[in-house]
Point group: C2
Amino acid sequence: MQPKTNFRDVFYVSDGTAITSETLGHAVLGQFDIETRQTTLPFVETIERAESVRRKIEAAYEETGIRPLVFYSIVIPEIKAVIEQGPAHFYDILNSLVVPLKDDLQLEPRPMLQRSHSINKDAASYQDRIAAIEYTLAHDDGISLNNLDQADIILLGVSRCGKTPTSLYLAMQFGIRAVNYPFIAEDMKSLVLPKAIEPYRYKTYGLTIDPERLVTIRQERYANSQYASAMQCEQELDKVEAMFRREAIPYLNTSSLSVEEISTRLLDMSGLKRKMC
Amino acid sequence: MQPKTNFRDVFYVSDGTAITSETLGHAVLGQFDIETRQTTLPFVETIERAESVRRKIEAAYEETGIRPLVFYSIVIPEIKAVIEQGPAHFYDILNSLVVPLKDDLQLEPRPMLQRSHSINKDAASYQDRIAAIEYTLAHDDGISLNNLDQADIILLGVSRCGKTPTSLYLAMQFGIRAVNYPFIAEDMKSLVLPKAIEPYRYKTYGLTIDPERLVTIRQERYANSQYASAMQCEQELDKVEAMFRREAIPYLNTSSLSVEEISTRLLDMSGLKRKMC
């Protein structure tokens, strides 16, 4: 049996979106064998809100008798001080790096409202990103093969191999204009690269997937259909992969990869720069 | 004039996607007055790849005579050691928190391949997320008002106030099923809550925007159109905001907010839980 002390309340607290605190806290906690109950408290920008955070920390401590873990990022010292009065273990996610960096750079930091996901830092790149999302939506799933000259990347593959989520992630996270185009059952008789894509093959990449995994995914959507049958899935994948090889289109098997991993691997393969958003 | 030492090469290095290293490094560097040239090197999973990273660090140092800054997260000690031979300042983004956490928890960490954006940890929640993206795409921009019982949140607003990017971000980042529905010029004569949405008003939120900002955004798309005119924008916003108030739909002005900020504020307003993806 697990000792009860392996349970911890975890709070992610920030004067911004708390997305960075959450991401990092999650990664760090993944290294410990503990059970957690997690609460995210963004936009803690006033003393009142900080007091409410402190009360939540106190309540968790009173309920469990165990000090909660607080991953936080707050710039204004007065607000920070209120939270730090709570009965918890505190991890300042930025300061733990700012302090050594300050020594190495021999520069003083200029703390400012920690808005790592804000619009104001770089309005132009922000508009680029919105435009990339729009472009990608307009070129999802073969809707359009116009304006391919403006694409940063073109993805090909069978239905349900991960093209749409990957394209949207590339646009949303990295400001990349992604086109995706599906091959369907009717294409299989004489599978060729679509004419419109040929001039852009240098920025074209394939996605593929293990047949078993494809069957599972398609069954969830259309159980017992021809479309989801093992034979159909195997045939489509065979033909499409053969085409990728024949046409020298680099391709990636998505079976065990998350959307983030597929996206960053594609950036890596293509040499495309991440545009930080 | 800025002294030349304010320039730094920055490397983000990881055995995973490097998304966490990038996000955190970016936030930390934002606090210092330096100019940077940034390189991201994901999937450093072999000694060979680590040696190539080390050579890149060496090359940067030789070119500039200034030690680069390396934000990194690598689990396997042998791979880590190769990179740390480079002439750089190193910031281990996870260890800087794992070390104090270990003391506070009095538990040993169990280092594992740092896959904070991977599919394997929790396949069910990953499938939920893909389903959320699909649902959200199928309910973008008023395409469908079916199956609203399955929505986590319903967003209303005029054209170009941020509904689509916000909906997609909610789905992608938090696994939330978002519906969005636009009000168009023709709706303005007698603006009411769509009948299909009425039963779900408890999960309905409005987005609004300053008229000047809306004009700018619409002009970029359809310059000199009626649609982008100041009069049209003001009128639409007046009517839609009046409707939000009349119907007691909580709403949010998106003018100075990023997609991340709009999304997290909506979660905050609605009490919806973030599903970590």
